[in-house]
C-alpha cells in the first residue's frame, strides 16, 4: 500500500531524522560486539520511548489486565496436528454441553443460523487467549456475515466463566468436560496424548450441515482470519443453479 495520510506531508521531526540517519549508517558497520551493542542500545531506546505511553503509576497487587496478560509468559503450547476432521457436506453431530452459566446448549438450538464452532485446546493458554481475543474483536464482522461464534474446550464451566470475564468474551464457551472431550472426539479433533482438542474450526450451516472444516497444522497456529472471511463470504454468495 503506498498511499499515505498526513505524516509524509509534515516536516520530519528531529527524532525522525535521527532514526533515518541511524538506519542509513547500519550497512556500513562491521559485524562484531560493538555493532551488537549499538543494536541493543537502539532496542532499549525504542522500548523506553514506547513505555511513555503506559506511564501510569503501578497499582498495588495484580490488576485484571495482569491476569488477562498471564498467557504472555505462560509455557508455550506446540505440536503438529494429529487429526483429520469431518468433511464438508456431512451432517454436524449434535451435542449438549453446559455453558459458563450452567445452561445446556445444543447444536440444534442454532438450527436456522450459521455457527462457527471453535474447538480450542485450553482456556488461559497462549494461542487460545489470542485466538478468542481476535474473535471477540471481530464479533460484529461474524454477525454481519450471519455467523454465531461458539467456543468449545475441555475446561470446566467455572474456568470458562472466569476466563471469559477476564478477557471480555461474550460469545458462549461450552465445557466438553465430562465425559472429557467426548464432543471433540465426535468431531474427530481429539488429541489423545494431550488430553485436549486440536485447534479446529467447523462452519455449520442453518440446516446443521458442515460447510467448512479446518484443523490448524500446528497447535500454536491461529487460523488466518482473512482466509476465514473469504470462506464465509464464498458460502454466503448465491449458490449456482
Amino acid at each position: 500500500m503506498d498511499s499515505h495520510a498526513g505524516p509524509l506531508s509534515a516536516q520530519p521531526t528531529r527524532l525522525d531524522q535521527l532514526e533515518q540517519d541511524f538506519a542509513a549508517l547500519a550497512p556500513q558497520l562491521p559485524q562484531g560486539p560493538q555493532t551488537q551493542a549499538l543494536s541493543l542500545l537502539h532496542g532499549m531506546v525504542q522500548e523506553l520511548w514506547r513505555s511513555g505511553a503506559a506511564a501510569a503509576p503501578a497499582a498495588a497487587g495484580l490488576s485484571l489486565q495482569d491476569v488477562a496478560d498471564l498467557h504472555q509468559r505462560a509455557p508455550a503450547m506446540e505440536g503438529e496436528a494429529v487429526s483429520t476432521p469431518l468433511k464438508a457436506g456431512e451432517p454436524a453431530p449434535d451435542f449438549a454441553l453446559p455453558n459458563a452459566n450452567g445452561e445446556t446448549v445444543r447444536l440444534s438450538d442454532f438450527r436456522g443460523r450459521n455457527v462457527l464452532l471453535v474447538f480450542y485446546p485450553l482456556d488461559w493458554s497462549p494461542g487460545c487467549s489470542r485466538q478468542l481475543d481476535l474473535y471477540q474483536q471481530e464479533l460484529d464482522e461474524f454477525r454481519r456475515r450471519d455467523v454465531e461464534v461458539v467456543g468449545v474446550s475441555v475446561d470446566s464451566l467455572y474456568s470458562h466463566g472466569a476466563w471469559a470475564a477476564v478477557r471480555g468474551i461474550t460469545f458462549p464457551l461450552l465445557a466438553d468436560f465430562h465425559p472429557k472431550g467426548e464432543v471433540a472426539r465426535r468431531y474427530q479433533v481429539w488429541r489423545e496424548s494431550d488430553g485436549f482438542s486440536e485447534r479446529a474450526l467447523y462452519l455449520i450451516d442453518a440446516d446443521g450441515v458442515i460447510r467448512y472444516a479446518h484443523v490448524s497444522p500446528k497447535l500454536q497456529h491461529v487460523p488466518d482470519i482473512y482466509e476465514l472471511y473469504s470462506v464465509l463470504d464464498g458460502l454466503s454468495a448465491p449458490k449456482a443453479a
Binding site: 535521527l18 538506519a23 547500519a26 474483536q137 488466518d224
Partner: protein, 97 residues
C-alpha cells in the same frame, strides 16, 4: 545480518511515515493488529516474515535483536508486539489519528 540498501528501511520510506506490520499470517496478535488498522482506515503494508526471512533479519537489528510477531513500524517508532493502545498512541504521534 545487515544488507546493502537496508531493505525495508532504505531511504525515507518506512521511517518517514509508512506503517508496516511484520509478522506471521497465523499469529493471533498480528491479525488483531491488522484488523485494527483495517477498521481505522490506516494504510499499511504487511510483510509475512515466514516468507521474507531477510526482512526479519534486517528488522532484528533495529529492535535490539529481540523480535516478536507482530513488530510494527510507524514512522521511526518500532513497536514489538504492541497492545492496540500502544499502537494507537504511536499512530497518533505519527499524525494518523
Amino acid at each position: 545480518m545487515l544488507s546493502p540498501g537496508y531493505g525495508p528501511f532504505a531511504g525515507r520510506g518506512a521511517l518517514a511515515g509508512e506503517v508496516v506490520v511484520y509478522g506471521s499470517r497465523w499469529c493471533g496478535v498480528t491479525m488483531m493488529v491488522r484488523r485494527h488498522l483495517d477498521r481505522a482506515g490506516v494504510p499499511y503494508r504487511f510483510v509475512d516474515w515466514d516468507v521474507s526471512p531477510q526482512a526479519r533479519a534486517q528488522l532484528e537489528w533495529l529492535a535490539g535483536g529481540r523480535l516478536a510477531s507482530p513488530t510494527v513500524t510507524v514512522g521511526g517508532q518500532i513497536l514489538v508486539q504492541p497492545s492496540l493502545r500502544e499502537l494507537d498512541w504511536a499512530l497518533m504521534r505519527a499524525g494518523y489519528r
